[in-house]
């Protein structure tokens, strides 16, 4: 029992070509930067965006297939959709909003109202049943949107940036609630987000996409340990290099050779944690095999650490303590040397 979607489409500047599967029992997050096509993919799964080629199958049942021209319209798909800004119907009460899906799908008025009240109770908003959406806070609206999507008992729950419309102070609390409701929902769950924290907190598995294409997929741990794109490396906060491995070294595209203890053969990614990168004012003598010169282009204080971006033959970010920075007497634009040990380079096939 799963969702299986393979979708190719062009929409304005977006060229999307993705194949995803979501199994029953797992929460999958579609993670990617703005404009990656996450929302478009979600809308295509819901039948709201036509696509050039591909298919959407749910539990083995074809919802859409460009080869056989099968198309089940959105309103007949067993889905629940939580939109980014929730789109609660402003002219209907909270109760009527939650009952809307049940009424549309043929539930009698009496039964729909009872079920809607039950759902409002579950999300803790029973006392707001007769209010209009305009009178609710962002977090409350999010819960109504969730109750509205879940009330008709869908097989597939789609959430588009469910927390993006909230301010930072309420986000953590709403995220906890959302996690709880996602866990208690028994169907297939797919969440779109651009926030890695949200993805990691809500999902069992991440699907990272950029520019309409799959970058990598795996558990949060797998993704953070083996970033496969600059975007993911930036999210995780590590230095990502790519090159050709040759028994203990990695030759980068620019010709520089980085000593990497674990390197074997073939196209690889090499990750260096900023904490493993040391900064020197003069050419260091010692055991580190990797020594490069460069200029400090950006110095950023992050709590009790300082991240220094060094541009040169090999551009990396180094992380040092504020005390070390002071001792180095480092300013932006200053010339420095950086070094790291070959054993601090993690190498894995590209």
């Amino acid at each position: 029992m799963s969702l299986d979607a393979s979708i190719s489409l062009t929409l304005g500047p977006l060229d999307l070509d993705m194949a995803i599967t979501v199994d029953e029992g797992e929460v999958v997050a579609l993670l990617g930067p703005n404009g990656a096509g996450k929302t478009t993919l979600l809308r295509a799964v819901a039948g709201l965006v036509p696509f050039r080629s591909g298919h959407v199958r749910l539990d083995g049942k074809v919802l859409e297939d460009t080869v056989t021209r099968a198309y089940v319209p959105t309103e007949r798909r067993p889905i629940g959709f939580v939109f980014q800004d929730y789109l609660l119907f402003p002219h209907l009460s909270i109760l009527e909003n939650v009952a809307f899906g049940l009424r549309s799908r043929g539930t009698s008025r009496q039964a729909a109202v009872e079920k809607a009240i039950h759902w409002l109770d579950r999300v803790g908003l029973k006392s707001y049943a007769s209010s209009k959406p305009a009178g609710l806070s962002g977090g409350q609206r999010q819960r109504v949107a969730l109750a509205r999507a879940l009330a008709p008992n869908p097989r597939l729950l789609l959430l588009d940036e469910p927390l993006a419309a909230l301010d930072v102070t309420t986000r953590a609390e709403v995220r906890r609630d959302l996690k709880r409701h996602l866990d208690s929902f028994e169907g297939i769950r797919l969440v779109v987000t651009h926030d890695p924290l949200e993805a990691v907190a809500l999902a069992d598995r991440l699907i990272v996409m950029e520019n309409g294409h799959l970058v990598q997929t795996g558990t949060a741990q797998e993704v953070t340990e083996h970033p496969r794109s600059q975007y993911v490396a930036d999210l995780v906060g590590v230095n990502l290099l790519r090159g050709e491995a040759d028994h203990g070294s990695v030759k980068l595209a620019g010709g520089q050779v980085v000593a990497a203890a674990g390197a074997e053969l073939g196209e690889v990614f090499a990750v260096v944690h900023p904490r493993a990168v040391a900064i020197h004012r003069t050419h260091p003598e010692g055991s580190p095999r990797n020594v490069w010169s460069g200029r400090a282009t950006n110095i950023e204080l992050l709590g009790n650490r300082v991240r220094v971006r060094i541009d040169g033959e090999v551009s990396l970010v180094a992380e040092v303590t504020p005390a070390a920075l002071k001792e180095l007497n480092l300013v932006e634009g200053g010339k420095v040397w950086l070094s790291f040990k070959s054993t601090d380079v993690a190498v894995y096939p590209a």
């Binding site: 319209p73 309103e75 889905i79 939109f83 119907f89 002219h91 209907l92 549309s104």
Partner: protein, 261 residues
Amino acid sequence: MRRERVPIVALVPAAIGAAFFIVPLIGLIVRSPWADAVAALTAPETLEALKLSLIASLSATAVALVLGVPMAWIYARVAFPGRDLLRALTTLPMVLPPVVGGIALLLAFGRRGLMGAWLATTFGITFPFTTAGVVMAETFVAMPFLILTVEAGLRSMDRRYEEAARALGANRWTVFTRVTLPLIGPSLFAGAVLCWARALGEFGATITFAGNFPGVTQTMPLAVYLLLETNHNASFILSLVLLLISLVVLVGLRDRWLGSA
């Protein structure tokens, strides 16, 4: 709070312009023979004309809603070749002299008109010089106001609410009746009231196409015009009644109208 001084180049023309509207209204109020008001208002011809006017203008509004809302929906939602031309043709009566509209209706639905001859011989239906003809003439002139107002409302609404409704399992009819119509409610209401007010005041097309038969086709504006020849005082009083109706509509609509313009 210090108030900004209004420049004289704005103030003088604005005052003349305002006087241009207000003096005739004052004239109507001051010169109306209030003593005859009750008699004029309760005269059978007056009541007949008033009743006919209300029935015909409300019928015209109903017809405009039934036909015009779907037209507006198609103009706003369906892209088809010739859409702009069709919209221009169907809203032409807004700028056409109503008398010309009446003549055009005669040539189409008159006893020997394009459709009229066929309707008369096949179904025995004739429109000219009947109350139905009055409704037709008023609809012809007033419906474009409704079409344009509703189309503007449909274009400016957030269509993602319709998608949200579809994702909740609503078919197109349910989406339209439970989401689209309520969301464009203010536009729909404004369009209907504008349409009704225009129909109520219709003169040219009505007198040309439907004639001026008391009790059958003689609406208030026609009665006012006719009475001007025979009974000044009654004419003034009826004018005042029409003025009051218009004023109530305008004040009631002001916020919505200015808001959407």
